[in-house]
């Protein structure tokens, strides 16, 4: 494709994308209900949400007491929980994944259990964690841990088990130490699969943290949504939903970049 065709293709994408946005906003505006029959507004207009967004974003770090903090502060709490739960889970998942990928018999014997644990909603663990860990903040982090463990684990195991035999044979021929073999051969070879797993994990962790915070209350973007819902403030709820989506995209793009840097040419 010549460069000219490429830019015009890109133009098309941007224009149609903007059209979708306009259509959505129009559809939204048409369905706005001024009130529910009561005194509070019903579904707010896009403009009202934009105004709310401006108000929230112009003062994101305010702190008016334990139960009322700015959107920026709430995001920092959520991202903090995410960082701890996700990084611990990733380290554990990659380690276990490598072991399972290298020993197919072991992989097959534990696979049924992984399959059973994988589809459990991370929130279902919440009551158990609260009861055993006895700390709501740590329980929320454990929920993140559970939600980001399985995709990385499964992908790593798959990636490692499908490394070309040649690579492993060469490394044993060169008599590389276990550590060097891990870092020079196994991990780089399985990197694309691992990063794909990490991205899926990040997505499910970000989904889980919002729900977990709605349960435990106190701080975080999930609590923010819950608190606004109590007051039936849909404007703030919609703004928070958009924020959650936006941060989710940023996290995914960040990991995508990481993946590009790690991939290698065959």
């Amino acid at each position: 494709m010549d460069p000219h065709a490429k830019t015009s293709e890109r133009k098309k994408v941007v224009i149609s994308s903007l059209c979708f946005l306009l259509a959505f906003v129009f559809f939204w505006q048409v369905n706005v209900k001024p009130t529910l029959g009561g005194k509070t507004e019903g579904l707010p207009s896009p403009l009202a949400v934009a105004e709310k967004a401006w108000e929230m974003l112009s003062n994101p770090f305010y702190d008016r007491g334990a139960n009322d903090k700015g959107i920026g502060v709430q995001l920092i709490y959520s991202l903090g929980r995410l960082a701890v739960g996700y990084s611990v889970a990733s380290v554990v998942a990659i380690f276990l994944g490598v072991v399972l990928g290298l020993y197919p018999t072991l992989y097959r014997s534990v696979n049924p259990y992984i399959q059973i644990l994988k589809p459990i909603s991370p929130l279902a663990w919440m009551p158990l964690f609260l009861y055993t860990i006895k700390d709501s903040g740590k329980a929320a982090v454990m929920v993140i841990f559970m939600s980001s463990l399985w995709p990385t684990l499964a992908n790593t195991a798959f990636g490692v088990s499908s490394i070309k035999r040649d690579y492993l044979n060469v490394s044993s021929l060169l008599q590389l130490s276990w550590l060097r073999r891990l870092f020079k051969v196994i991990l780089p070879a399985a990197a694309p699969a691992i990063v794909a797993g990490l991205r899926i994990s990040m997505g499910s962790a970000w989904i889980a943290i919002v729900a977990a915070e709605m349960l435990i209350g106190g701080t975080g973007i999930g609590y923010f949504v819950w608190n606004e819902w109590n007051n039936l403030q849909l404007t703030s709820v919609i703004f928070a939903i958009l924020t959650i989506g936006g941060v989710g995209v940023l996290l995914d793009v960040g990991l995508g970049r990481l993946g590009k840097n790690l991939s290698y040419a065959e």
Partner: protein, 454 residues
């Protein structure tokens, strides 16, 4: 140094009873406890000597009637609490100044919440942060896990948790009730024609928690109307803040819930107030202030200061003239997160009911800290009635263990408020076959109901 102020407790069944007995034998205790305690005992000794003439006669008297009774008699002749408070200005150093107190964003928690912005905690030397929880199960777990030091609870919760019902068994004490009345049966607007319980068969109801006065009053109301609450309607647990949204979504036909969510449903024109809870049992208890028993034992001075702040705030909230100011203080996002107008309608008792009437009910919600042990006994009878507890129940003992009526009386008096002289009383109901609940005959009361699981 344990629970110094609390040991003034005059009633022999209080948690701190042993200490009350010890404190009478003043001479022996002086050396072992701190200077404040010694001062208290010196005052007690002096008063006793003044009343009895000599130590010898006092000892004889104590031996004759028993320490608890002797103390009570002595207390009736001479205001011991006041004398001690005068002799010693402070209760002693506060063990833990920075506290976290849990709450659910409802008007029942008014005293607990307002004490932060209106400075009641500060006045008693505490730095309290009130912490908003999403539901009662979370309140329970936060309290049991010691993430909160003391907490807003529903009056049946400390009873249930102490007994290990609906939770692992963790002893709680409930030194004060927060609010009386203040709940309502709210129905969805489509049910405007409903006359009574008999029309509610097949309804989907919500209550805030299994162990709530709401659950027991709703069951009581339905059963008195001949509707079996376990078989003919559905009662589910939904956190109060989520009730309006569920009513609006058509997910519920109604709820017996706390305010402001009854009034909020009217405000949103999605529901109407069918019946105020005081039309079932006027003066019924609803929410409470509670703490783990071990927290109270470890931090007696802190607890005492907290207790005083709560009693002070509760009495302040009791004054109708303060209600508008309070509504303004607790409505913001940090606390209730509700329109001031709605909170005001609840607290002042001047409200539209959603049926086109403007009602004036000044005691729609009221605040009275005294934890009548007979209230606990009524709650236990309903737990037994609906099968939440099985087998023999020692109604009196549990009530005395959890509802610290005597301690509340002492604190109320020390702050200059009037307090009831008894720990238990008969309660009058407006609705029902049995109009008077006699706490002395709980088992007969349970058996008197036609619809019951026990």
């Amino acid at each position: 140094m344990k629970a110094r102020r609390l040991e003034e407790s005059a009633v022999p069944h209080g948690v701190f009873q042993e200490r009350a007995e010890e404190s009478l034998d003043a001479d022996s205790a002086i050396k072992t406890d701190g200077p404040d305690a010694a001062m208290e005992r010196a005052v007690e000794g002096a008063v006793a000597r003044a009343v009895f003439g000599s130590d010898l006669r006092r000892r004889e008297f104590v031996r004759y009637v028993g320490a608890g009774a002797a103390y009570a008699i002595l207390n009736s002749v001479f205001p011991m609490g006041a004398a001690k408070a005068l002799a010693q200005e402070k209760t002693g150093p506060i063990e833990k100044k920075e506290l976290k107190v849990g709450f659910i964003p409802i008007t029942c928690a008014t005293p607990i919440i307002m004490a932060e912005p209106m400075g009641f905690y500060k006045k008693h030397g505490l730095d309290v942060q009130v912490y908003k929880a999403s539901g009662w199960a979370m309140i329970r777990d936060l309290a049991i896990n010691r993430e909160t030091d003391a907490t807003h609870m529903l009056t049946p919760m400390p009873i249930a948790f102490t007994m290990g019902v609906g939770s692992q068994a963790v002893p709680f004490v409930m030194p004060a009730v927060e609010n009386i009345n203040g709940q309502a049966i709210t129905l969805a607007v489509k049910h405007k024609g409903i006359k009574g319980a008999q029309d509610m068969k097949g309804f989907k109801f919500a209550v805030p928690f299994d162990y709530s006065i709401h659950n027991f009053l709703l069951r009581y109301y339905l059963a008195e109307g001949g509707v079996d609450p376990d078989k003919e309607v559905q009662i589910r647990v939904i956190p109060p803040p989520e009730m309006v949204a569920n009513l609006q979504a058509g997910n519920l036909d109604g709820y017996l819930g706390p305010d402001p969510f009854n009034q909020r449903a009217v405000h949103e024109a999605v529901g109407f107030i069918f019946m105020l809870s005081k039309e079932i049992w006027p003066g019924h208890p609803c929410c409470a202030f509670a703490a783990r028993k071990d927290f109270v034992e470890k931090n007696p001075n802190t607890f005492q200061a907290l207790f005083k702040a709560i009693i002070d705030a509760t009495q302040y909230a009791h004054q109708a003239s303060n209600r508008k100011e309070i509504a303004k203080a607790i409505a913001p996002k940090n606390f209730l997160n509700q329109p001031v107008e709605v909170v005001e309608q609840v607290l002042t008792g001047e409200f539209p009911d959603g049926l086109g009437n403007m009602r004036k009910v000044p005691d729609r919600i009221d605040f009275d800290p005294f934890p009548w042990q007979s209230m606990a006994i009524w709650i236990l009878t309903q737990m037994k009635r609906w099968g939440y507890i099985k087998g023999d129940v020692d109604y009196k003992k549990i009530a005395e263990q959890v509802y610290l009526a005597a301690d509340c009386r002492e604190v109320m008096k020390s702050l200059g408020y009037k307090a009831p002289a008894q720990n238990s009383t008969k309660h009058d109901f407006l609705l029902g076959k049995t109009k008077v609940f006699d706490p002395a005959k709980p088992e007969e009361y349970v058996k008197s109901f036609a619809i019951r699981r026990a």
